[in-house]
């Protein structure tokens, strides 16, 4: 898991009037290029240190999964590794990175802070902590101290230099400039460094030098569209229209839905006398913008629908999802509508919408999982099993799929197999209450009472207010011959139930 396979470009819009703390938009159009989240390329890294064979083995597997982009599986292995070797900084770093990949910022930052505290001399810990701080809270320069620590450890660490230069561009253009120059000296073939340096130069009114950097970035990486867009802006203001048209076409070939570039192309064509062609492009730009606007509105309505769904307001959620579908149909919206209908008791409607979702997007594992769940609710066990198996073919590491398969297996009289899937689901997502509880129930059914009690205890930790979990724990402890533990759990269950009532 080394190398620059994890490139993230976070655009910030240009030319608005103010600085922005929210990270939604900032006026300077400097782009954060986050690089090399795992071990930095080109640097000799000390081999990770392990005290146990299982710790080392889980780490190795996690790295393999990470290289293939199987984040859930990597997380599973890392959690298992950490259970074998609590506090191991190498495992913590990878854990932080994997959470960051899943945009789970809080656990990512927790893991990386722990790693940096456990290994204060670790370049990777500080660099990745800086990067994750920046990604979690863009535009604030939160990563600056960590990049500086990383550079204190390794002054020639290119990615730290580059990200620090980007973070400082708005705060100290002088230092930023020097850092960009050093980065380019160390990594002359870094397109990202050239492009970002060009952005800084353009902002500082050094247009000629900026153009040279944009051109170099494009030479090094012809697919770096932002460099092309920046160059295009300069070409348009200089009236170098023929080249501008060429750049527009290059961008649109790679990103046909870029309304802004289409608009520029329209303007450029009109100015070189191709008025009709230009007007077509302007009209196309407007169509694209309107579609994007509808999409955005649909997203906003969808977000509201998901809130309603989470809060159990199923009918309101269904109204929201229907309206989102009207604005901009998608498989995901149909899937959500199906869930809302299922919640409100309309299983036929739910099955119709979820079937439509998987037909629209047959490779959407979540849609298959949800269809399976509703099939199960509707008593269609065979179809449920088929759907959940399709989901697992598409995403072998889906905790929900494993949980649902466990349910189907348990209902079909295969408790041993069910336990395996519940356990896997619970390990893939350590906060997955339903899977953990189901694991407890399945173990108890097979009289594997110790395992059942452990699962219920874990569930009680996640859901301390659940009377159902306490009840199950109490009964299991009673069966285990622990009357005092059972009494306490059952008493607590009774209290919670009264309170709920």
């Amino acid at each position: 898991m080394t190398g620059n396979w994890n490139i993230l470009v976070e655009p910030r819009e240009m030319s608005s009037k103010f600085s922005n703390g929210s990270g939604c938009k900032a006026w300077n159009r400097l782009w954060l290029i986050a690089l090399a989240a795992f071990a930095s390329a080109g640097l000799a890294q000390t081999a990770p240190d392990f005290r146990t064979v299982p710790g080392k083995e889980h780490y190795r597997k996690a790295v393999e999964y990470g290289d293939q982009g199987h984040w859930a599986a990597a997380l599973l292995e890392l959690n298992r590794g950490l259970a074998a070797e609590p506090g191991n900084p190498s495992i913590l770093i990878e854990l932080g990175i994997v959470h960051a990949e899943r945009q789970e910022w809080q656990p990512a930052l927790e893991a990386l802070h722990r790693a940096a505290a456990a290994a204060p001399g670790s370049l990777r810990a500080h660099y990745n902590l800086g990067l994750t701080l920046d990604r979690a809270d863009p535009g604030k320069g939160a990563g600056i101290p960590e990049y500086r620590r990383a550079l204190h450890i390794e002054p020639a660490h290119v990615d730290s230099l580059l990200n620090l230069a980007i973070d400082l561009a708005d705060r100290d253009p002088g230092e930023s400039k020097a850092l960009f120059q050093r980065t380019i000296q160390l990594a002359p073939r870094s397109a990202a460094a050239h492009m970002n340096y060009g952005l800084l130069l353009r902002r500082e009114s050094e247009e000629g030098a900026a153009v040279a950097e944009f051109r170099q970035a494009i030479r090094l990486d012809p697919g770096l569209l932002e460099a092309r867009r920046q160059l295009l802006a300069v070409l348009m203001s200089r009236r170098e229209l023929a080249e501008a048209v060429g750049q527009c076409r290059e961008i649109l070939q790679r990103e046909p839905g870029d309304a802004g570039t289409r608009y520029t192309l329209g303007q450029a064509l009109i100015r070189i006398g191709k008025v009709e062609d230009g007007q077509k492009e302007l009209a196309q730009a407007q169509t694209l913008r309107k579609a994007a606007q509808r999409h955005q509105q649909a997203l906003e309505v969808q977000v509201q629908g998901v809130r309603d769904l989470d809060a159990g307001r199923f009918q309101q959620a269904a109204v929201a999802f229907r309206s989102a579908i009207q604005l901009y149909p998608s498989a995901e919206r149909r899937m959500y509508l199906g869930l809302a209908l299922a919640g409100s008791g309309d299983l036929a409607g739910a099955l119709r919408e979820l079937t439509s979702a998987v037909e629209l997007e047959p490779r959407n594992a979540r849609a298959h999982v949800n269809l399976a769940a509703v099939c199960l609710q509707a008593g269609r066990e065979q179809q449920a099993r088929a759907e959940v198996e399709k989901a697992l073919q598409l995403d072998p590491w889906s905790p929900e799929a494993h949980n649902n398969l466990g349910l189907i297996l348990a209902a079909g009289g295969h408790p041993e197999q069910a336990i395996e899937h519940f356990r896997l689901a619970a390990d893939l997502n350590v906060r997955y209450l339903e899977a953990i509880f189901n694991l407890g129930l399945a173990c108890r059914a097979l009289r594997r009472l110790d395992e059942a009690a452990a699962a219920f205890r874990r569930a009680a930790g996640l859901a301390p207010e659940s009377a159902q979990v306490r009840q199950a724990l109490g009964l299991t402890l009673q069966d285990l011959g622990d009357p005092s533990g059972a009494r306490a759990a059952l008493k607590e269950a009774a209290r919670l139930e009264r309170r709920q009532k």
């Binding site: 240009m14 608005s16 009037k17 600085s19 922005n20 608009y263």
Partner: protein, 572 residues
């Protein structure tokens, strides 16, 4: 041979380019700071000196209008307030700062008549638009506020009555900004468009700092909810109805609206509507002639500059700078970007020509607000003005920043057709105190035949620049409608003087939340004869007038011709 004769354009451009190598830069204008003598002493307040909220930075506009019909343009200056004022205002109390009405004494001085006239307001104001909305012959005044707007109906005796609520244009506790009057449906009654900026409640709550050039400054509007724009239809009985949705000008994206203006950009006889938006595309609404509009900013080419990315547009200037009979647009924006000139090709197509017009490099360090086209030297070609000033007072201390908080205005002379050369420092503006300026408007306030300039400043009185450029011939026309609205707003004027053909129109509401001289002013250079003045009135009636005197202020009434000729005041 007139300098800008279009017939010889290619040769002339080459000639000018060649001459530029050996000759002095193009002649400038002459202005002098007349503020102290004029007595425009009221300070415009906009929050505290050190800004902690986005509410405190946009400043305010001003309007020239003749409130007492004495033929002299009076000045209304909109004032802001403090956050405390705004909180008080929300609870029904009045603020501690007021707007100013200055009566023009006709001798270069003004008298503050705010109290007598009853237009103090005492609410945090943003902009204004003046027009005779009830067609009674006296100009009324709409003032946009942070909070409910004012509509001051002119009583015809030097006083006004505030009627916004009864008229239905007060709006709620919103952040209102630009206002423009125009008769969009041709019923003879002036309708009103009011832009909205931010959700005021949210803006007031947001006080957290944001980093900018290594400093902590207030956070900008990004991510905040916008306030809706509104179109009010004039019912002809002193009331208005909100027709925003029916007319198709619903600000669906709640973009951050600033200046709005009505203008017939495609010469189809129906006024279209342009709205400059901050951090989003500009709106251009094409008037379909049936009471409805269609948004065409992208297809007509004014939603964005040629780079295709949204600007932070604040101010709007409208004028036919190249004499092709189609109204062009100019917008101001944030620093480190460029102010944008959209050239109207006359076939529902406007092109960003800022680069070739010489406006990209010259405007880049400036953060622009008020702006207008005006012919400052009466040579028959429109020039350009912008009032500027940054939003962060901290910019004065910013490490490595080329932008400053206090910025001088820019004055561009149209030095060759379509080319603008910045001449402010050679035009007498070098010694004018620096401010962070906002609203701006032109008028021939001293009726001496040239256009003067006034602009508001943050935390200071307005700056009045009297034009003292050597005289050339000119004519100014006050339109009085008969079938349509009494102000003649929306009328299109075509003036022919030998080889010089110019177009202009009557508007209310432009620049930055401001109003220019309502009279149409044409420079004539050395031409002492006007061959024809053609006026196409709203509704389509056309008057063609010959034997039009020069160097005079004329009143032209629809269907009657010239009904009054006024002598200019002699220059000092």
């Amino acid at each position: 041979m007139p300098k800008h004769a279009p017939a010889t354009l290619p040769f002339l451009v080459l000639l000018l380019s060649a001459l530029a190598l050996t000759q002095a830069p193009p002649a400038a204008f002459r202005f002098r700071d007349a503020g102290a003598r004029a007595g425009l002493g009221g300070i415009t307040v906009c929050g505290r000196e050190r800004k902690s909220s986005v509410v405190e930075v946009n400043g305010s506009g001003l309007c020239w209008f003749d409130y007492n019909n004495d033929g002299l343009l009076d000045l209304y200056v909109v004032n802001g307030g403090t956050i405390e004022d705004l909180q008080a205002q929300r609870n029904g109390a009045r603020g501690s700062h007021h707007n100013y009405l200055y009566r023009n004494n006709g001798d270069g001085t003004f008298t503050d008549v705010t109290d007598q006239a009853g237009v103090a307001g005492f609410r945090w104001g943003a902009g204004c638009a003046a027009a005779d909305y009830d067609n009674d012959g006296f100009t009324d005044l709409l003032v946009t506020n942070l909070g409910e707007n004012f509509l001051f109906r002119n009583n015809g005796n030097g006083t006004f009555t505030e009627v916004a609520k009864a008229a239905g244009v007060a709006g709620g506790f919103d952040w209102h900004t630009g206002a423009a009057f125009g008769d969009y449906d041709g019923d003879g009654h002036l309708d009103l468009y009011v832009s909205g900026y931010l959700d005021l409640e949210q803006a007031l709550q947001t006080q957290k700092p944001c980093p900018w050039r290594g400093m902590q400054v207030f956070c900008g509007p990004g991510g905040m909810r916008g306030a809706p724009d509104r179109l009010y239809h004039n019912n002809g009985d002193g009331t208005f109805s909100d027709v925003t949705r029916q007319a198709g000008v619903e600000d669906r994206d709640l973009l951050y609206g600033f200046t709005a203006t009505f203008e017939d950009f495609d010469n189809d006889g129906h006024p279209d509507l342009f709205v400059a938006n901050d951090r989003g595309r500009n709106y251009l609404y094409h008037n379909l002639g049936n009471g409805k509009f269609e948004e065409v900013g992208e297809t007509w080419g004014v939603a964005y500059p040629s780079e295709g990315t949204a600007q932070a547009n604040m101010g709007v200037a409208v004028g036919d700078y190249d004499h092709n009979g189609a109204m062009d647009l100019f917008v101001t924006t944030f620093s480190l970007d460029h102010f944008t000139l959209y050239h109207n090709l006359g076939r529902r197509l406007l092109l960003d020509v800022s680069g070739e017009a010489g406006l990209v490099g010259a405007t880049r360090p400036f953060l622009g607000w008020g702006t207008f086209f005006a012919d400052f030297n009466n040579d028959g070609w429109l020039d350009l003005f912008t009032a500027n000033g940054h939003v962060y007072p901290e910019a004065e201390q910013a490490k490595g920043a080329i932008e400053k908080y206090l910025q001088r205005p820019l004055l561009f002379r149209q030095s060759a057709p379509g080319v603008f050369t910045e001449v402010a420092l050679r035009s007498g503006l070098a010694g004018v105190p620096l401010h962070s300026s906002r609203g701006a408007a032109y008028a021939d306030y001293d009726n001496d035949g040239d256009l003067d300039i006034v602009y508001t400043n943050m935390g200071a009185p307005p700056t009045l620049l009297e034009n003292t450029t050597p005289p050339q011939h000119w004519v100014a026309i006050r339109t009085v409608g008969a079938r349509g609205n009494r102000d003649g707003i929306g009328a299109r004027l075509k003036l022919t003087a030998g080889d010089l053909v110019q177009y202009a129109s009557v508007r209310s509401g432009e620049s930055y939340l401001s109003g220019n001289d309502p009279r149409v002013h044409f420079g004539l250079a050395q031409r002492s004869r006007i061959d024809e003045l053609e006026i196409r009135w709203p509704g389509g009636h056309v008057d063609k007038l010959s034997a039009v005197p020069v160097d005079r202020i004329l009143t032209v009434e629809e269907g009657k011709g010239i009904t009054r000729v006024r002598q200019p005041r002699q220059r000092d």
